[in-house]
């Protein structure tokens, strides 16, 4: 048992350093989306919620598990969707042009559409 807790502590320490390192240079415009994105990632608690509910015995444990899963699902689904919605707004000029082209040229031959997309990426 002490071996497995030490393994987890190792993981904890390394993940902690990684968490610091990986976001060390974030422009302030991305602070809100980053907060929201990390918020979605701790929604991984849903995995824990499923495990405790799936092994529950008796109605009290089941009810508690049910509530836990609802909360955890809210966290993970809402977190990712709201972050995606924020990031939808961060488009470069060319991405926007591509999108506008796609909207207005719905009926045009596919070649034009794909070339516009190509420009968007470049």
């Amino acid at each position: 048992m002490t071996g497995s807790i030490l393994n987890l502590i190792t993981v904890f320490v390394l993940a902690g350093f990684l968490g610091f390192e990986v976001i060390s240079k974030v422009p302030s415009i991305l602070h809100t989306p980053l907060m929201s994105g990390t918020n979605a990632i701790h929604g991984v608690i849903l995995v824990g919620a499923i495990i405790v509910t799936g092994t529950a015995h008796g109605n009290a444990q089941l009810a508690l598990g049910f509530a836990t899963i609802v909360l955890a699902t809210l966290n993970v689904v809402g977190g990712f969707v709201v972050t995606d919605r924020m990031l939808e707004m961060f488009k470069t000029k060319s991405q926007r042009a591509t999108e506008a082209a796609r909207h207005t040229d719905a009926g045009i031959p596919p070649e034009t559409g794909s070339s516009a997309r190509g420009q968007g990426k470049g």
């Binding site: 497995s4 987890l8 904890f12 993940a15 902690g16 968490g19 990986v22 976001i23 974030v26 422009p27 302030s28 991305l30 602070h31 809100t32 989306p33 980053l34 907060m35 929201s36 994105g37 990390t38 918020n39 979605a40 990632i41 701790h42 991984v44 608690i45 995995v47 824990g48 919620a49 499923i50 495990i51 405790v52 509910t53 799936g54 092994t55 529950a56 089941l62 508690l64 598990g65 049910f66 836990t68 899963i69 609802v70 909360l71 955890a72 699902t73 809210l74 966290n75 993970v76 689904v77 809402g78 977190g79 990712f80 969707v81 995606d84 990031l87 939808e88 707004m89 961060f90 470069t92």
Partner: protein, 461 residues
């Protein structure tokens, strides 16, 4: 390969996607992709969990997940962009609550046997941190939604009371360790909720975004603690990544506001309200107010105009009209840019999101340092629904609660126009001497309304 090895490998893949997601989210170009990668990893992690041996009650689990998703998706999709901060607070709070409940459920199972102390400590951490995050996020939500006063709520000996509650939690934790009693743990859970409320009450509205970031980090740690309880590496990795990056992000945010985290949590910022609502100040300064037509002409014949958007612009949903004004000025050859304070809106980066929603070209958005270099050569600084982020008290008045916060130096511009609903002070509740400056003209009214009139006035002149 056994089933459990396969599951562990899938969890490893998920953990890697979380790291990639964080890295993607730190750069504007890859942010959206990063988020999607994280979501894919999450689907993998949750999906393989169902394959774990020994799990039952799949129907119940599925129903709970459908209910959660059915609430979350519309809430996240339909919420107005201005209300995004409170949504983040809510989604964060429920995560903290879930982490606390996971630890509690697990504890309820082994409380009858003899359990190693470290396992109980893990449970205690999960429950305490998760509950503080849940209750604190609920208060943050209520403050941002203006369901309760945004001003700091203070009472005598507040920190002593909070200290007593915290001591109570430690005592109860000791009792749980000694007795393995589930009932005591439930009482502890309730007291931790009380502490979550008590410690967030004195935090003023302007600081709530930093608070949410801090609580986000807390939830991460609570999830990591649940990971220890359940021996789940993916929970430990996911939770710890958020705990660490959230702590760093909190620090970055408070730095952008020129304040320390301890000051935010214990400072009861903005409790002191000076003059408000009066047109005449004791100092004798008076306010000059103008008409949209005057200002329209002033703008139309300027060379360089800075638009300084604040939360008021967002509340009035005026970002689209602001862009119209900028476009019609640009058409006349006026050099227009948006001066964005890092904490404009209610969260760092919030204003960029709102303006991007209105299709404002990226190149017109200038961050504070660059904007401050441009402002001395700017003819008109048009402040729309912002106040605290341009308040010179942050530079000049050492006693002011916002002293030391970096601000946009709009007072360096040749003319200042404040578009405000009233003389009421900003979110921080501090009077702004700039409103009484001889260079300043006030334009009272709803931001959207006034901007529409300004567009007409510019087009007419």
């Amino acid at each position: 390969m056994t089933l459990s090895t396969g599951i562990d490998i899938a969890y490893l893949v998920a953990a890697v996607t979380f790291i990639l997601a964080l890295r993607g989210l730190s750069s504007p170009r890859h942010a959206r992709k990063g988020n999607i990668i994280g979501a894919i990893g999450m689907v993998i992690a949750v999906g393989v969990t169902f394959a774990r041996p020994g799990l039952t009650h799949f129907g119940l689990i599925a129903i709970a997940m459908v209910i959660g998703a059915a609430i979350a998706v519309p809430a996240a999709r339909l919420v107005k962009m201005t209300a995004i901060p409170q949504m983040v607070a809510m989604f964060n709070g429920v995560g903290g609550g879930a982490a606390a409940l996971v630890s509690l459920s697990e504890f309820a199972r082994y409380s009858h046997h003899h359990v190693a102390i470290y396992k109980i400590v893990e449970v205690l951490l999960g429950v305490i941190i998760g509950c503080i995050s849940f209750a604190g996020s609920a208060i943050s939500f209520a403050k941002l939604q203006e369901m309760m006063p945004t001003r700091p709520i203070t009472y005598p000996a507040q920190q002593v009371v909070n200290g007593v509650i915290a001591a109570g939690i430690l005592a109860l934790a000791g009792l749980v360790l000694a007795t393995n009693s589930t009932l005591t743990l439930v009482i502890l859970l309730v007291v931790a909720l009380v502490l979550g409320v008590a410690f967030t009450l004195p935090i003023g509205g302007a600081d709530v975004p930093v608070l949410i970031s801090l609580l986000n980090s807390f939830t991460g740690l609570a999830v990591a603690a649940s990971g220890f309880v359940l021996h789940s590496t993916v929970l430990v990795v996911g939770g710890t990544l958020v705990g660490a990056s959230g702590a760093l992000l909190t620090q970055m945010m408070s730095k952008a506001m020129g304040r320390s985290i301890t000051n935010i949590i214990f400072g009861a910022f903005g409790a002191v309200v000076t003059a408000s609502g009066s047109m005449e100040r004791s100092g004798g300064g008076s306010v000059k107010s103008g008409t949209p037509e005057d200002i329209g002409v002033l703008l139309a014949y300027s060379r360089k105009v800075a638009i300084v958007p604040g939360y008021g612009l967002a509340v009035a949903q005026a970002q689209h009209v602001a862009r119209e004004l900028a476009d019609s000025l640009a058409k006349r050859g006026v050099d227009v840019f948006y001066a964005i304070h890092p904490v404009a809106g209610r969260m760092p980066g919030h204003m960029n999101v709102l303006l991007a929603e209105a299709n404002v070209p990226y190149e017109q958005l200038k961050e504070m340092d660059i904007a401050n270099m441009e402002l001395p050569t700017t003819d008109v600084a048009l402040v729309v629904g912002a106040n605290d982020v341009v308040n010179p008290a942050a530079r000049n008045t050492p006693g002011s609660p916002i002293y030391g916060m970096p601000i946009l130096n709009v007072d360096a511009a040749a003319n200042i126009v404040f578009l405000k609903r009233s003389m009421r002070p900003g979110f921080a509740g501090i009077d702004n001497e700039l409103l009484y400056d001889p260079k300043t003209t006030m334009l009272f009214g709803d931001a959207k309304d006034m901007l529409t009139k300004l567009v007409a006035a510019v087009e007419a002149s």
